[in-house]
């Protein structure tokens, strides 16, 4: 059985998995990190989004063995040890960007990648386009978009100037 050695939320793990094990299965079933959700299982909904080597990916569409040697960040790795929320989590809370919460872990992970990969700024249209791989059936997206715009200046330490 293949060994996979990877870093998850700053902690190194070596796990034996079948080759067919998905990354999300490794996270949820082997490491008990059940914050990462499986919604559609067909690569569409984005509930399973995590960061692999700093980039957002759908962990239901990646084999665990492909993540050998990788640095993985999940929703559990965001808040500080004392419980202080990541600025994106705080913005989601403040702007009521969730209702049932099922899509939220994937939304937050996609949103953080979106903000960090757009240091020059983000328009509302770019935020909406950037969320095309994440489905939410409760909020109508409006408050999620507001939360991401609100988190941008906190994460970059300067004002977000709308270019639209």
């Amino acid at each position: 059985m293949p060994h996979v050695t990877l870093t998850v939320n700053g902690k190194s793990h070596t796990v034996d998995v079948e080759a067919r094990t998905l990354l999300v299965e490794l996270l949820r079933e082997k490491l008990a990190l059940t914050g990462t959700h499986v919604g559609c299982d067909t690569s569409q909904c984005g509930a399973c989004v995590v960061h692999v080597d700093g980039t957002s990916v759908k962990s239901c569409t990646m084999l665990a063995v492909q993540a050998d040697g990788a640095d993985v960040l999940t929703i559990e790795g965001l808040a500080a040890a004392d419980g202080t929320l990541h600025p994106m989590q705080e913005a989601f809370r403040e702007h009521h960007a969730l209702q049932c919460g099922f899509c939220t872990p994937g939304m937050v992970m996609s949103a953080i990648d979106l903000v960090m990969s757009h240091p020059q700024g983000l328009t509302e249209a770019e935020i909406r386009h950037g969320l095309e791989g994440n489905l939410c059936r409760c909020t109508g997206y409006h408050n999620i978009v507001k939360a991401i715009a609100a988190a941008w200046p906190v994460m970059h330490g300067r004002e977000l100037v709308a270019a639209e």
Partner: protein, 264 residues
């Protein structure tokens, strides 16, 4: 998914050796189509050969060509300022494949080896007259695509890179299925000094094809008006729950005219 043996070779020769000796061995590029196929048990490979460590990603731009390594992701092509400058239609095409997370993993080589009849990249490769380089030869785009999910690749043959000639102007427009984001109709237009090439994806039962009637008209007069009166026959086009063959035939004209107007 059925279980399989996983191999992650570091040399192309090792990968082709494994794939060449076993008809049931499969190559894994970005996996954004292949892994869903495995999850649905539509394929039962004995061995999955991961191409990630073969050093096949990267983009090289010269004044006359853009060469993209087979394992280069859609996101890397979409974000490349050099590609956007040389072949704007190609960068735009890459930016509209799937969604952002899919673009972070999906690769040009994987898309071309699979040759989904609704995939975007085949339209760019055929319209631009690109050359597909494999571990053993070069294949012209006109010879490469051989029908839905069918290509000129032999068992065990791996795409290593794709070289696109830089056109005078290009554009790609697709009418996408809002759920899958695959092309219901996608039209790539490439204008060269020697003439215009037009490729259509998403529409035909036999995969990507060149629209020779549009090419002839646009090579004489590169305006949307030049093709406004050319009807596309619905024979051989897909009819499904998303669109009838007649609807797709009409869309080909609409998307082509918009693509001509947008070419730069």
């Amino acid at each position: 998914m059925y279980d399989f043996t996983y191999e992650k070779p570091t040399e192309i020769a090792s990968a082709t050796a494994i794939l060449g000796k076993d008809d049931e061995a499969k190559a894994l590029a970005g996996g954004q189509t292949f892994i869903p196929v495995l999850k649905q048990r539509l394929n039962k490979p004995t061995v999955v050969v991961d191409l990630a460590k073969l050093g096949l990603s990267g983009i090289t731009v010269t004044p006359t060509t853009v060469t993209i390594g087979a394992m280069t992701t859609h996101a890397a092509v979409a974000d490349s300022a050099e590609v956007a400058h040389a072949i704007p239609g190609l960068a735009h095409l890459a930016s509209m494949i799937g969604d952002w997370q899919v673009r972070h993993r999906g690769t040009i080589g994987g898309s071309l080896a699979n040759n989904d009849p609704s995939a975007c990249y085949p339209a760019a490769v055929l319209a631009l007259g690109a050359t597909i380089t494999t571990d053993r030869r070069s294949i012209s785009a006109d010879d490469y695509f051989q029908g839905m999910f069918t290509t000129a690749l032999e068992q065990g043959e791996l795409i290593t890179s794709v070289t696109f000639p830089v056109p005078v102007a290009s554009s790609y427009l697709k009418f996408k299925n809002p759920a899958s984001r695959y092309a219901m109709v996608g039209v790539f237009i490439a204008k060269f000094d020697t003439g215009v090439r037009v490729a259509v994806t998403g529409a035909s039962q036999s995969g990507v094809f060149r629209h020779t009637a549009f090419e002839a008209a646009l090579s004489t007069n590169f305006t949307a008006d030049a093709i406004a009166k050319i009807a596309t026959p619905a024979d051989g086009l897909n009819s499904d729950i998303h669109a009838s063959a007649d609807y797709r035939a009409h869309l080909i004209g609409v998307m082509a005219r918009r693509a001509v107007a947008a070419a730069k």
